[in-house]
């Protein structure tokens, strides 16, 4: 009989792990609380570094799920350890017994409104990175200006911010800001685009090339300094103040649109599942792996594994690689 494996979370991590487990001859059961699969990636427009269409990636992953049992709009109500398996109760009333569980619950975007000084939800033309992706995907947004003359990006919103409860760097948002800044320049060549950063963390393959292109080919202004204050002018534009720490002088600028690069924090529904399975939470709020060098996929509890952004910020290729590795790791666990 095929061994059953429960996968919690139908983002790209859960989908890819399900496809691989199926190929390895197991029986994956994928549980997703929303209607659509793909998690956050399903909301993005184009993916760096190759500007791959996010929609086509999700479609491709979904096509790989034929034969996999997928529960949409479903959550795990309770989960209990039996002798060498887990008994699971789903919100749709079904009960399952599975040999292993993969947590692929992903992340949650930091709520930008918590940083009140940036005026999200207060001023007319302040949006987040996620709002901008949605708009690029064709969802109308009345906060978007008609023909902007100036657009600004604020890095590290809710990340590297002990006061906001997140000391960690969200890792992908510098690159997302550079990508979105270029996209805005392409759409509005007449607009000046400013990125306000603390450090530019462009660690991945081709990321630095994007940065060089943003400087040389797109004339994007990089200002090293954290935005201290955002206000609204009488005509409804956004005024931003910061210190240009390289120049050693305060700067201000009036913009038609301000984009806040909200960071990644742990998904609260993973934190809610953790006590039932006696899983530990790490100091950054994400699920704690056995270790962060060779044991990222391991929870430390028998039969429970992790993949993707539930253990920390990850890019798409990192998430997919982890999902494949987790499928193989679970397969080995089931063979043992």
């Amino acid at each position: 009989m095929k061994e059953k494996v429960l996968i919690i979370g139908g983002g790209i991590a859960g989908m890819e792990a399900a496809r691989q487990l199926q190929a390895l001859g197991c029986s994956p059961l994928l549980v997703e609380k929303e209607h659509g699969l793909g998690g956050h990636v399903a909301r993005w427009h184009k993916l760096f570094p190759d500007m791959l269409s996010a929609e086509s990636l999700v479609t491709e992953l979904e096509a790989g799920l034929s034969g996999v049992t997928v529960y949409r709009h479903t959550e795990v109500k309770s989960i209990n350890r039996l002798k060498d398996s887990y008994s699971v109760k789903l919100s749709n009333g079904e009960n399952l017994v599975v040999r292993a569980v993969l947590l692929a619950t992903g992340f949650r975007l930091f709520e930008a409104a918590k940083k009140e000084e940036y005026g999200y939800g207060v001023y007319d033309h302040v949006v987040t990175n996620a709002d901008l992706e949605a708009w690029m995907n064709g969802f109308p947004d009345e906060r978007m200006p008609e023909a902007p003359r100036a657009v600004g990006f604020v890095h590290c919103v809710g990340s590297r911010d002990i006061k906001a409860g997140n000391s960690q760097c969200s890792k992908v948002c510098c690159m997302t800001a550079v990508k979105q800044a270029i996209e805005m320049r392409e759409r509005y060549p007449q607009a000046e685009v400013y990125c306000f950063y603390m450090d530019l963390r462009l660690f991945g393959k081709k990321y630095e090339d994007f940065y060089i292109g943003a400087q040389r080919d797109f004339g994007i202004h990089f200002i090293r300094g954290r935005v201290s204050e955002v206000g609204e002018t009488i005509d409804g534009r956004v005024q931003v103040k910061a210190e240009d720490t390289l120049l050693g002088k305060p700067v201000k600028v009036i913009l038609d649109l301000l984009v806040l690069m909200s960071g990644m924090v742990c998904n609260p529904s993973a934190s809610a599942l953790a006590p039932q399975l006696r899983l530990e939470i790490d100091s950054d709020g994400f699920l704690r792996s056995r270790d962060n060098v060779a044991g990222i996929l391991e929870s430390g509890r028998p039969g429970i594994f992790y993949a993707g952004a539930c253990t920390g910020t990850k890019t798409v290729p990192e998430t997919l690689a982890e999902a494949r590795a987790a499928a193989l790791r679970i397969y080995q666990y089931l063979q043992a």
């Binding site: 060089i212 202004h221 200002i223 090293r224 240009d244 305060p250 700067v251 201000k252």
Partner: protein, 107 residues
Amino acid sequence: MKDFGFTLSPSSAVSLDKVDSRLWHKLLETSPDAAVCISCGSCSASCPAARWSGMSIRKVLLALQRGQSVAPMLSCCMLCGKCTMVCPRGINTRKLILALCRICEKP
């Protein structure tokens, strides 16, 4: 004017949307690489003129982008080219100074 016992000094804040960047854009026409500077400071640290004159390519490039004056710094360069050797972005800084001097001569 009536003496109130204090004076008001103008704000030192730079308004990015009102910056006069004509010189910067003129430079970019012939030296587009100037845009890829990352303000690392290698050029200034290696510059033999820096320690007595305050010359700094890093500061020149930044000042141009923020509409600040650069002429006093430029006049201190000896065109020795040490800065060009160390720039990690491969900017030909020596050539860039020459180009700037030419632009400043006949704007």
